[in-house]
Symmetry: C2
Subunit: 493 residues, 2 copies
Amino acid sequence: ETLSSGDERTARPRNGKAREKTLTMETLNPQVKAVEYAVRGPIVIKAGEIERILQEGGKKPFTEVIKANIGDAHAMGQQPITFLRQVVALCTFPELLDSPSFPEDAKRRAQRILQGCGGRSLGSYSASQGVDCIRQDIAAYIEQRDQGVPSNWENIFLTTGASDGIVSILRLLVSGEGRARTGVMIPIPQYPLYSAAIAELGAVQVNYYLDEDNCWALDVHELHRAYQAAKQHCQPRVLCIINPGNPTGQVQSKKCIEDVLHFAYEENLFVMADEVYQENVYAPDCEFHSFKKVLYEMGPEYFNSVELASFHSTSKGYTGECGFRGGFMEIVNLDPEVKAQLVKLLSVRLCPPVAGQAAMDVIVNPPQPDEPSFAQFHKEKASVLGALADKAKLTEQILSAVPGIKCNPVQGAMYAFPQIFIPPRAVEEAKALGMQPDMLYCLRLLEETGICVVPGSGFGQREGTYHFRYVYLNFLDGSRMILGSSSHSNAKV
Amino acid sequence: ETLSSGDERTARPRNGKAREKTLTMETLNPQVKAVEYAVRGPIVIKAGEIERILQEGGKKPFTEVIKANIGDAHAMGQQPITFLRQVVALCTFPELLDSPSFPEDAKRRAQRILQGCGGRSLGSYSASQGVDCIRQDIAAYIEQRDQGVPSNWENIFLTTGASDGIVSILRLLVSGEGRARTGVMIPIPQYPLYSAAIAELGAVQVNYYLDEDNCWALDVHELHRAYQAAKQHCQPRVLCIINPGNPTGQVQSKKCIEDVLHFAYEENLFVMADEVYQENVYAPDCEFHSFKKVLYEMGPEYFNSVELASFHSTSKGYTGECGFRGGFMEIVNLDPEVKAQLVKLLSVRLCPPVAGQAAMDVIVNPPQPDEPSFAQFHKEKASVLGALADKAKLTEQILSAVPGIKCNPVQGAMYAFPQIFIPPRAVEEAKALGMQPDMLYCLRLLEETGICVVPGSGFGQREGTYHFRYVYLNFLDGSRMILGSSSHSNAKV
């Protein structure tokens, strides 16, 4: 006796046989099925399995797995900034405001944040856009960062990490069917949040390729090419930029940003500037320029018309506070009615985590020279950023020294995206296993050295080239990388 | 000189004229446009305006606005549970682990949580499903709550508040086109997260009506009626239940839950049980029964087949920690491949806020009788729940005493959903203003008394009936409600 045939979803149980499931791979939302997110994909699952084997006393050619797959600073041993944690702890447990072991400037920050919270508690919902005084602090920070370019706090929205803001803005922008469907231009290589969100929302992904031969620069001619090609089958309406780049670690020049903004102006594109690595610039000849500041300097015709959303986060920079899920976005030139729709949409999820909002506030309102925590704060900040700069340099050197690997200069962010040359026989082997060649490479690297990196195919790359993303938050990786490579190099870190 | 005509989205600027916007109400995602969320809707915006007028010294018939629109306990003056805040503060600033002013049991909790975090820091990303040891604590809590019904920690997912979990599960379930499109059965009245998520995902909302004449009970015959009617135009695949009820405050009987689960079994529906008010049961003749426990007691044929997701939160109960955005879901009988897809989907957003996860851990792993914080914890918990029970009773009494208002017994949650009788002339007046009659009522109530409640039309109600949702976290409301009503009653609180 079996289930009634026909439509499985209406099948009824018979004689105690197991009921068909309602939710199967066949009935699953196809847009969910289409989502890919390599940063936590099969390599990372495999790394977890190896970690368990090691914990249970199993033998491997190494004693620990090095997770170079994700920009998770504290997990790699980076210490939190003391002042930030003091402020958040004071907000969490206000009885500590009476404790002599907390500095006065931390107490002042905490009291100000709590005054912005309902019932003076982190446990209240904030407004959907975030706590007003934190939004005001963010606007003041942006004005200072951008040397006086005005920022209106009512255009600031706190978010649950930057990811939440990015997906919310994309959600607004997806509409139309067939050739009128929204196309979203993203860099290749990209951070796979973008491709995942585009798949989930059913938008059209429009790839523009960064120029690997030119240190992963964005070439505006490539934007034109990608745009014109996409116009044949969709309506490109959004241009996403990641600067400094993830996974590519490049920092865009001011001239390049101007070109991009001019292109967006001409083609009427909504610009999404992912600027979460704005503090992470290490190369001496590079500087962070915000898209908003460059837009301002292009004159009022541009500054008053190009729709721009910029994203920031507590997770990167020198704080690395990923777990707090803090972030914000600034949105300029958004249609006021659309802005009301955005507030409505965000209000359904009530508010971003308030402890994360408090952490964000410390980043935009750090201790001032006349305050007691100033010296320690800046010492800690400089130490983190200095170590990251050293690691960026070392990563570039070590990867360049490994035969079969070619690495561009690492200018910023937390990543290198070296090209790897995979012999044709290895490519054949991977294909026989139904696997991308760089996936096979990364699996082997993990199994032989314990280093966990994400294959370039998870970020996108030009056909026939192979890469991996290497997160250089950890110092130990260089020597193992060389040991694990097919080379005979004796270089050590 | 004007913009070129034709397709606005490709119009180019001419002679310095303002460029057309890319994102307008015309190009906005229509599914976003369709979203409604009354809990933070026009009444609440109006309340904010009145608050500003009062702050600036303006005159109103009252001195403060009472926000009875949202279950935001701390904003209404409820105090946090000391032990919970101690644990989260210790996790946030581990130097406090050396402080003699924190109790040992709070330190033990914090150390355990930190051991589950990468780099022993709340600032690390957790696994997408949450911190393992917190998931284990949750499973142990559920087993105890359900008197031994087994709970597997690998079926527990931490979430960003319950809302995040609910939307994630709905996202999996939406598929098909036309008559095969997923129908989602929701109670009317409902918490508007459901209708908002259904609109955003483009699913089909299938209403079943709770029985107001029978204390808002769920009648399984009404489920059958709604299901059969919906089958004509969609494929109902999901049944959402809110127990204890929001906005209706009823508590479902065990018999009723059995009937519902039998119906879901027969019709192959995925059951989503919103059980965030499981600690908020006040009526002496009522008890909380989890859907999972009842399913277990119905026997293995049911327990091993009905797909069930249950949701919980730090925001309600006796903790009221809304701002931490903590929550979890337990999912049983989910197809293993679909579960992997869910993990993938959640991984795109990286992880729920870790401080919220820590708060959740305290709720499921409170001080034990032999621990130093036991007495204070239970005193605080009893005080909050006792006050809520008193307010529930008082709310029912006061609302019943107001002419023109009829209120069912308030058995649980934090809400009453009284029916209001609006005279035909007022209904006409509202219609002339293009407004729902209950919206007009609530606006008038706000303007005359400062009490901010949400009209029933934001939750759904039977055609021709009018209600509002009243959140009874605040004691002050009764007398004003009566003063503000059109009656001549002299009742006072």
